[in-house]
């Protein structure tokens, strides 16, 4: 696979041509913020974004996804295998996708996620602007870099370098006036991506393994968790915006005729009160995580320790979306974890 270069002048034509041929999802402006959305021409594309409100997981596992449609006793699966080009993804979000890829693949392959995922092409892009709450510079280990992308785009003076990693990535070159990148351009791209790593204003104070151990050992510190969660609204915003949260609820919906309908899955949040609640009948119920503190702890445990062995990294990529989304501003993993480390 080759690295390619395109001039800034030719780049827009590339994006426009690519988006005429394929469905391209990339970062777009929404007022002063950014979201991933369909790119129909180059002027939609905002590669200078800092972070999007929702992570790109929504492309492969939409907020509401129909799993099965039914009509009386007849039913059929509803697998979406239309691939898209997911363009301009920052490395931390590729890492998020790497994590959901693994979790949807392990044990039981979830084709409702994987069909679209595997048919899609992911193109990363370098971070031009660093979001205020991000801390990706200080999380993970040296070998926990992004893996699931097909190509990676880096903007530099005068143009862009595209590093192709798979044939799917290589296939994009035909849409634009790309030429072979020089060794100097390639090393310039590497430098840009390396230099950005210490640009986050927020940092975790310890290594991921130190954090994992301390957080786990703090499990029984009830006072700590209930203090941390005192202002929690149980609104689940921290889950909803998280690139590695993938829990879902399944609900059936009737069409108005009450004969046909669909079985949908919706993003769910372990911070909401009913997440682990079971009805036992005769009005009694059991909530396996009844208090705010228990639910808050579960999220931190999941991000910092529970999945580390399976993933080889924490299940947090440092995007800072939860920090920004939490109205009470208690979700910020940097504040929470640095506080736990001091206890």
């Amino acid at each position: 696979m080759n690295p390619y270069f395109i001039t800034a002048n030719d780049f827009d034509a590339f994006v426009t041509k690519m988006s005429k041929d394929k469905k391209v999802i990339g970062p777009k402006a929404k007022k002063q913020k950014f979201v991933f959305g369909e790119i129909k021409s180059a002027d939609h594309l905002r590669l200078d974004y800092d972070v999007t409100i929702l992570p790109p997981k929504k492309v492969f596992t939409p907020t509401c996804q129909t799993l099965v449609t039914f009509d009386g006793d007849k039913f059929e699966g509803n697998v979406d295998n239309d691939g898209v080009i997911l363009f301009g993804v920052h490395f931390y979000d590729i890492r998020g996708i790497d994590i959901t890829d693994l979790l949807f693949r392990e044990n039981n392959r979830d084709v409702n996620y994987l069909a679209k995922r595997e048919a899609s092409t992911i193109v990363g892009s370098n971070i031009q602007n660093v979001s205020k709450r991000s801390f990706w510079g200080s999380i993970g280990t040296s070998d926990s870099g992004p893996k699931g992308h097909d190509a990676f785009l880096t903007k530099m003076d005068g143009g862009y370098v595209l590093e192709c990693l798979t044939q799917k990535g290589e296939d994009l070159v035909k849409f634009g006036n790309w030429s072979k990148a020089s060794a100097a351009q390639v090393s310039e791209a590497e430098k840009i991506n390396k230099d950005v790593m210490d640009k986050c204003s927020q940092k975790l104070s310890h290594s991921s393994s130190e954090i994992a151990e301390k957080v786990r050992n703090s499990f029984d510190n009830q006072e700590l968790w209930s203090n941390l969660a005192e202002d929690c609204f149980s609104c689940g915003s921290c889950n909803t915006v998280c690139p590695t949260c993938y829990c879902f609820d399944v609900q059936d919906k009737w069409n108005l005729n009450q004969v046909s309908g669909m079985r949908n899955r919706y993003w769910d949040s372990c911070l909401t009160e009913d997440f682990a609640k079971v009805s036992l009948g005769a009005g009694s119920e059991e909530n396996f995580r009844e208090t705010r503190g228990e639910r808050f702890r579960h999220r931190i445990m999941r991000k910092a320790t529970y999945l580390n062995e399976k993933l080889g990294t924490p299940a947090c990529v440092g995007c800072g979306r939860c920090s920004a989304a939490c109205t009470a501003d208690i979700a910020d993993p940097v504040n929470v974890i640095n506080k736990i480390m001091e206890v």
């Binding site: 799993l67 099965v68 039914f70 006793d73 039913f75 699966g77 697998v79 979790l103 949807f104 392990e106 044990n107 039981n108 392959r109 979830d110 084709v111 409702n112 499990f219 029984d220 993938y246 829990c247 879902f248 609820d249 399944v250 609900q251 059936d252 919906k253 009737w254 009450q258 309908g261 079985r263 899955r265 769910d268 372990c270 997440f275 682990a276 609640k277 079971v278 009805s279 036992l280 009948g281 005769a282 059991e286 396996f288 995580r289 228990e294 579960h298 445990m301 999941r302 529970y306 999945l307 062995e309 399976k310």
Partner: protein, 282 residues
């Protein structure tokens, strides 16, 4: 514990597609519970391990996790018991003989048959916990010679909550089943034991090498385990059948997560010695 054969679980590779079953027989067992006997609509044999679960579903209502309540030794049909607690169970409990029901399963890990064979086995079932354990009870009584002593404790809130009355009558009569029962509150007709289920430990002598299977309301576990400990039964020989919100049944949706385990695929049957290490499990 044997691994699940997921090819059975995921027709067409889609883990959310259920298979159709037909209701062969229905019995109202208590005010809230109905006992269904089902067969696969395509006539295929029923294969599962005692203690495994399935997602029972009705389109338009949803899915609920339910344990098999019969033994795989009876391979043409299988039983489930549904307690009316909400939307799905309420709708299922309105169905009749000949109606269709949909299931995804078998799912998860059941009772450790290999570890129970040639051993004394004690099953402690509280309330609706008798349903999933019935898959093991039937298995043991069907293959009685493979096991040594078989002791069964069954406790309910009151006599009206007792299920499988025909089975109970048989267990009471059988020479090779040591059956003991109790209720929290008796009524005017009740002549048996009154008191919590742990009282039944006084009724019999257990060897320290007994294998124990416990299924019932979460509150019951701690007390029963304490009784087992008194007899010298080791933690690794005690198995708990856990209740959780097993929404998807295939280890994806996150609702039944306990630490890094999923009750639906890593359980619902766990060794107590493993659970002890798992925060939030008990």
């Amino acid at each position: 514990m044997t691994a699940t054969d997921y090819s059975q679980v995921a027709p067409q590779g889609n883990i959310f597609l259920p298979k159709e079953c037909k209701i062969v027989n229905v019995k109202q067992v208590t005010e809230l519970e109905r006992h269904f006997t089902l067969k696969h609509a395509d006539g295929s044999k029923v294969k599962f391990e005692p203690g495994q679960i399935m997602e029972v579903s009705l389109f338009g209502f949803g899915e609920i996790p339910i344990g098999y309540a019969s033994s795989p030794t009876r391979e043409n049909t299988f039983d489930i018991v549904i307690r009316t607690v909400g939307r799905v169970s309420g709708a299922v409990n309105k169905l009749n003989e000949g109606d269709s029901l949909f299931i995804r399963g078998p799912l998860g890990h059941g009772f450790p048959l290999e570890d129970l064979r040639k051993k004394d086995v004690l099953i402690v079932a509280g309330g609706i916990g008798l349903c999933p354990t019935r898959s093991l009870i039937q298995y043991i009584t069907d293959k009685r010679s493979e096991f040594k002593r078989f002791i069964l404790f069954y406790g309910t809130k009151d006599p009206s909550q007792q299920m499988f009355l025909d089975d109970i009558a048989k267990w009471k009569k059988a020479n090779d089943v040591e059956y003991h029962e109790t209720v929290d509150r008796g009524d005017s007709n009740w002549k048996g034991n009154v008191g919590v289920i742990t009282e039944l430990f006084k009724k019999t002598e257990l060897s320290a090498d007994t294998r124990v299977v416990i299924c019932g309301p979460p509150i019951m576990f701690r007390f029963v385990v304490a009784e087992c400990e008194k007899v010298g039964i080791k933690y690794e020989n005690i198995y708990l059948d856990l209740e959780r919100r097993m929404k998807c049944g295939v280890g994806k949706c996150g609702h039944c997560q306990i630490n890094d385990k999923y009750a639906c695929i890593d359980g619902p049957v766990f060794r107590y010695s493993d659970l002890k290490k798992l925060e939030e499990a008990l």
